[in-house]
């Protein structure tokens, strides 16, 4: 039976190669894009996680604190706990290397303890040297990857920077246990504390537990005994943190791939629909011969499934190719910057591949389902009569369904995210798309009615055709709607986002120059003396010092960035909302939107921040915008921070020039004062340009996916018209008899095509606008926790719409060309 079905139905796919190839391509693309995103992120995360896991090694637990570290006295207490078999203190430094672009991660470890907890960090001295060589100050041991990337050998000196001071370290051996590809260095912890001015500070303690002690049992006990801001966790928690960071980005890309796949399903729908229409007589004949309705249905669904399966298989293969290409071109994070220093390789992902293959088949079956139902609903006797497609193409306006979908979409915007993923937001997007498709038939009538006023024959013919067979528009236009909606919504969202980021950047970069010794995570910083010297430089009116740290507010959440800077009562910040907290005597803190969302904080709330191992209490004075720190940030007045922490170091220094001072001269003076090799001076314009470049790179992939979706939409128009033109050859022959020239038929087709496109584009644009709103207000808000001001790029959208209409006209015209080739007589006679 299956063979019969295959022969009768699936074989028919071979008869319409062009349409088949196009819908196959659409499914393939949808599957390929979605799966590629999974593979790329899966591989990058795996690699990143592997690195973290490898570097966490055999440790049972890790004690971690703020980025600036915690008092090493704590280590002595932890190491003496009876539950702890061995504790290994670690001071992790991201060393700035003056004169080099890259930074070097350096682990300061206790050589006598690290081997029992984390053997891969055990340094080994160069040949012939004693085993305790590593205890000597200034000895550095490089992993193979670091040795390679820094091009250093034993005996070479490497200059590292701490604050503004340069220190030369002697490369004295290797770290043979370092996992392949992990570039880092190891030195003695005492030397690390001294060289990097971190006396008394650790950033981590790795623990091996005593035999018989269960990890979960001690986790809570230990956590309760640790000072504020320091927490204990399993080493793989770090992997989860990094995975959480990129998850929102990943989910968004997956959604885009999903829409591509949906567009593919629409395309399958189009081709199947047309094929069913064209084969109306054949199907009726099969029914008349005694084939059961259910069997016909199954056969038609099998056709869709076959298309989906083939497309899915091709898609799975293509996805792995795409992933390889992406790794080669933009890296594992698709340019988003989540996984720096990670070089993943493509691996076959059987689970995800199966899921996407299934999605491909589902798209094929879903696309085939409605046409199959239509075909089997027909009474065989009717179908046996001369092929009359108008009946099948008659589609009723479905305003009620469209309205229902709109209401559902609105409702779906209300709930919060599920597990940090805006599931309901995506549901809203799906409802909006459905509403748009349901609205299509009715919209045809509305949009085509102005044509009735035209006296031109072709215009009236086109209108007659479209209003009589709105199904044709649905069939041809559904793909267009989906892809246009996707493109428009992304354009609006990305445009608004970019606009808001740009605006934000100019607000947070008010100074004329920015001076820093290194990025805030690395080992350079400015001490108060250096700040004073800059402030005293000729031409400098004011300096705005900023200090960064990263705090752990509770054990579960991701670390939060602490920004200590002069706030000018909030005036210096990109404040979104602020409130009167005059009567509160606590020091003020401004929180970012992400912070407000993730920690459920509002203006006037009290917030405890673990500063220097003690909880300090603040009152939330306002909410500010921040596009840089997805996991949240708090901004406190610099003087408050200094008073609480005793930390007077500075990471970034904004320099405001005195009137008439020359920027370049001042920059030069500062360079001369502090040393050219140890400071980085940037202009706000540079920082802005770099930030926006990163932004654009992040969204490059989404632009590419949009282009693909639009291409798929155009395929839809092209295939529909190709198929319709064939089935309408009689009609065209008749028109030729009536005096229309071949050229006129072409114009008629182009007109119909552009009308279809206009309907699709208009509906798609509206739907896109609505989706953009959902993206901005629901999906982005929930996954990244930041707001943005809507700034639709109207010009670009109009241009895009017009281009699409023209392209659709061309596609319709070209696809119809075949139908016009035959002689008028033959075409008409075919019917008799």
């Amino acid at each position: 039976m299956i063979r019969a079905l295959l022969r009768v139905f699936v074989a028919s796919l071979l008869g319409r190669r062009l349409a088949g190839v196009l819908s196959l391509t659409a499914v393939t693309l949808g599957v390929a894009l979605g799966l590629a995103v999974q593979i790329i992120h899966g591989a990058a995360l795996d690699e990143f996680g592997r690195g973290m896991r490898l570097l966490a090694g055999e440790a049972d637990l890790q004690v971690v604190g703020p980025r600036a570290g915690f008092d090493d006295n704590l280590y002595l207490k932890i190491a003496q706990q009876p539950e702890v078999r061995q504790a290994s203190p670690v001071l992790e430094i991201e060393a700035r290397l003056p004169g080099r672009e890259e930074k070097l991660r350096i682990y300061g470890v206790d050589l006598f303890r690290v081997a029992r907890v984390l053997p891969m960090l055990m340094p080994v001295a160069e040949d012939g040297a004693g085993r305790l060589l590593g205890l000597e100050p200034g000895r550095l041991f490089l992993s193979a990857a670091a040795r390679e990337s820094l091009e250093l050998a034993n005996g070479d000196l490497l200059t590292v920077q701490s604050g503004l001071r340069e220190t030369e370290l002697l490369i004295s051996g290797s770290v043979p246990g370092a996992p392949a590809g992990q570039a880092f260095a190891v030195m003695d912890i005492a030397s690390a504390q001294q060289v990097f001015d971190r006396i008394g500070v650790l950033t981590r303690v790795d623990l091996r537990l005593a035999e018989g002690v269960r990890r979960d049992d001690v986790l809570e006990q230990f956590a309760a005994r640790l000072p504020p801001g320091v927490t204990v966790r399993p080493p793989d928690a770090g992997v989860a943190e990094s995975s959480g960071l990129s998850r929102a980005y990943r989910v968004n890309l997956t959604m885009l791939a999903g829409i591509a796949l949906l567009t593919g399903a629409f395309l399958v729908f189009s081709t199947q629909y047309l094929s069913v229409v064209r084969r109306g007589r054949e199907l009726a004949f099969l029914r008349a011969m005694g084939m059961e309705r259910a069997l016909v249905m199954r056969g038609l669904l099998l056709e869709g499934a076959a298309l989906g399966l083939l497309g899915g298989l091709l898609g799975v293969a293509a996805a792995h190719g795409l992933a390889a290409l992406a790794f080669a071109l933009v890296g594992g994070d698709l340019g988003a910057g989540y996984f720096a220093h990670v070089t993943p390789s493509v691996r076959f992902m059987p689970g995800a591949s199966l899921v996407y293959l299934a999605l491909g088949v589902t798209a094929g079956v879903a696309g085939a389902w409605l046409p199959a139902r239509h075909a089997t609903a027909q009474v065989p006797a009717q179908g046996l009569r001369a092929g009359n497609d108008s009946e099948l193409l008659a589609a009723n306006a479905r305003w009620r369904a469209a309205l229902t979908c709109i209401v559902l979409a609105l409702l779906a915007c209300l709930p919060g995210p599920l597990g940090g993923i805006p599931v309901f937001g995506y549901l809203a997007v799906a409802f909006i798309l459905a509403a748009a498709v349901f609205g299509l038939p009715g919209a045809v009538g509305l949009l085509a009615s102005p044509l009735a006023l035209s006296s031109a024959v072709l215009a009236r013919l086109a209108r007659a055709r479209l209003t009589a067979a709105p199904g044709q528009v649905v069939v041809a236009g559904a793909g267009v709607v989906a892809s246009v909606a996707l493109a428009v919504s992304m354009a609006i969202m990305v445009g608004s986002f970019r606009d808001s980021v740009d605006d934000w950047l100019s607000k947070v970069l008010p100074s004329d120059l920015y001076v820093r010794a290194s990025s805030s995570v690395a080992s350079g910083y400015l001490d108060p003396e250096a700040v004073d010297r800059i402030a005293a430089t000729e031409g400098v009116a004011r300096v705005v010092p900023v200090r960064y740290d990263s705090l752990r507010l509770n054990d579960a959440a991701l670390p939060v960035t602490l920004i200590a800077r002069p706030t000018d009562g909030g005036d210096a910040l990109p404040v979104v909302s602020r409130g009167p907290v005059m009567d509160d005597t606590r020091p003020r803190v401004w929180i970012t939107e992400a912070m407000a969302d993730l920690h459920r904080l509002g203006i006037g709330d009290h917030l405890a921040l673990p500063i220097a191992g003690r909880d300090a209490y603040f009152v939330v004075a306002g909410v500010t915008r921040d596009y840089a720190r997805q996991h949240g940030a708090v901004i406190v007045e610099l003087n408050d921070y200094r008073r609480l922490s005793g930390d007077h170091l500075i990471n970034d220094l904004g320099v405001n020039l005195a009137p008439g001072a020359n920027r370049d001269t001042v920059a030069l003076l500062i360079r001369e004062t502090l040393g050219d090799r140890v400071v980085e001076i940037s202009l706000p314009a540079q920082i802005r340009a770099i930030s926006l470049e990163i932004f654009d790179r992040t969204f490059l992939v989404t632009y590419l996916m949009q282009a693909v979706a639009v291409l798929i939409g155009l395929f839809g128009i092209s295939t529909t018209f190709a198929a319709l033109a064939t089935s309408r050859s009689r009609e065209f022959g008749m028109l030729r008899h009536l005096g229309l020239r071949r050229r006129d038929i072409g114009r008629l087709l182009a007109l119909e095509g552009s009308l279809t496109a206009v309907v699709g584009v208009v509906i798609g644009t509206f739907a896109g606008g609505a989706i953009a709103l959902v993206l901005v207000e629901v999906i982005n808000r929930q996954s990244f926790h930041w707001s943005m001001d809507l700034a639709p790029p109207v010009g670009a959208i109009v241009g895009f719409a017009l281009t699409l209409v023209v392209l659709a006209a061309l596609a319709a015209r070209v696809s119809g060309a075949k139908a016009m080739r035959g002689s008028a007589v033959a075409a008409v006679r075919e019917d008799w």
């Binding site: 303890r113 085993r131 205890l135 912890i189 005492a190 504390q193 001294q194």
Partner: protein, 355 residues
């Protein structure tokens, strides 16, 4: 004496020649006072507390044991205010000679001195690394606790007499050049009681032990290849310590000893009064190194023979500290009759120690 010096060299704590000047010199004439000098002397380069002895469990089974705490001043990071500054390192080593196994069980610990995790206190003996410790209590007895991988012991040592000062009132010359000397006293005839854990069994044990405490600032002379040392509790209540330093040809370059005979007091020997003569060699099946495991030893007028508890008491810690040597329980015979039990240490029989 101890394997520690070779161990330090093998570890390659590189000490510049001029660095020696930064350690206090070991000169004769210093008065060693108790209990003050049982504590650590952190200014000196190296120091160790070393207990060896024989244990007997309730079944009559005899085993040798050894536990040592070393301290070394590295001259590294003395200007570094970090609490991790490796100015003083602590090493601990424990071994058990078990006839059933036919070879030594041993384990070791290394840490930088960092109270309260590891260190050596001044004023009274207290050296520890984690849960390994050696303590002199105010009541006058010592205790040690060792939890090694496959054995452990918790022992108490009660001295039966005063400390014995070796050499000239505790100033012990090691080589022809008197610059190679240490401050050195012994506590022989320590009565042992406590428990020994081995093979998941806990044994009540008793026995006799010997404690050496020695501190110095010089490493081995350039032309020395190794040494042989014995410390024996005599059954008559006396004790014998003797050693010889060998040069690169294997010939004796220096030797000395201390004999305590009940009723006769302490007798210290000059180099020509002590003689070591190998009687029987044993080749280690693991390292291939040949050790003279049986000796004839002359100390003054007395002639002894040494027989090991078992031949295989080689200690191979090349993988960790780089040292390989023989250190084990021995019986002391005089005229074919056992007159004492103690320990023998032999170093430098393998490759020449890296300098």
């Amino acid at each position: 004496m101890r394997s520690f010096q070779c161990l330090m060299l093998a570890l390659g704590v590189s000490l510049a020649a001029s660095a020696a000047e930064r350690y206090p010199p070991v000169l004769p004439g210093k008065v060693i006072t108790f209990p003050q000098d049982t504590g650590a002397h952190p200014d000196y380069r190296t120091e160790w507390w070393y207990i060896t002895g024989w244990l007997q469990d309730t079944d009559g089974m005899e085993r040798g044991f050894q536990v040592t705490f070393f301290r070394v001043r590295t001259l590294l990071g003395e200007d570094n205010p970090s609490r991790f500054a490796p100015t003083q390192l602590m090493f601990a080593h424990a071994a058990l000679a078990d006839l059933d196994r036919g070879r030594l069980l041993h384990d070791e610990r290394v840490e930088r001195a960092l109270a309260p995790l590891a260190g050596a206190e001044e004023g009274r003996t207290r050296a520890w690394i984690g849960d390994w410790s050696l303590v002199l209590h105010e009541a006058g007895h010592y205790t040690t606790t060792v939890n090694a991988g496959d054995f452990g012991f918790d022992l108490r040592f009660d001295p039966s007499g005063e400390p014995v000062l070796n050499g000239k009132a505790g100033w012990s010359q090691k080589a022809p050049d008197p610059i190679n000397a240490s401050y050195y006293y012994s506590r022989p005839q320590l009565a042992v009681s406590g428990t020994l854990d081995i093979d998941a069994h806990s044994h009540a044990v008793s026995g006799q032990a010997w404690l050496d405490h020695e501190w110095s600032s010089e490493i081995l002379p350039e032309d020395a290849s190794g040494w042989d040392w014995i410390g024996v509790n005599l059954h008559d209540g006396g004790s014998l310590m003797a050693f010889q330093m060998r040069d690169r040809s294997g010939a004796t370059m220096f030797n000395a000893g201390t004999l305590v005979e009940p009723g006769k007091g302490v007798q210290t020997f000059s180099p020509d009064e002590v003689r070591f003569q190998p009687l029987r060699w044993w080749a280690s099946p693991r390292s291939g190194i040949r050790y003279p495991v049986a000796w004839a030893v002359e100390a003054g007028t007395r002639h002894f023979e040494i027989e090991p508890l078992m031949d295989d008491q080689e200690l191979d810690s090349r993988a960790s500290t780089g040292a390989i040597y023989w250190e084990g329980a021995i019986r002391l015979l005089e005229d074919g009759r056992q007159v004492g039990q103690g320990y023998l240490e032999m170093t430098g029989y393998g490759e020449r120690l890296r300098m």
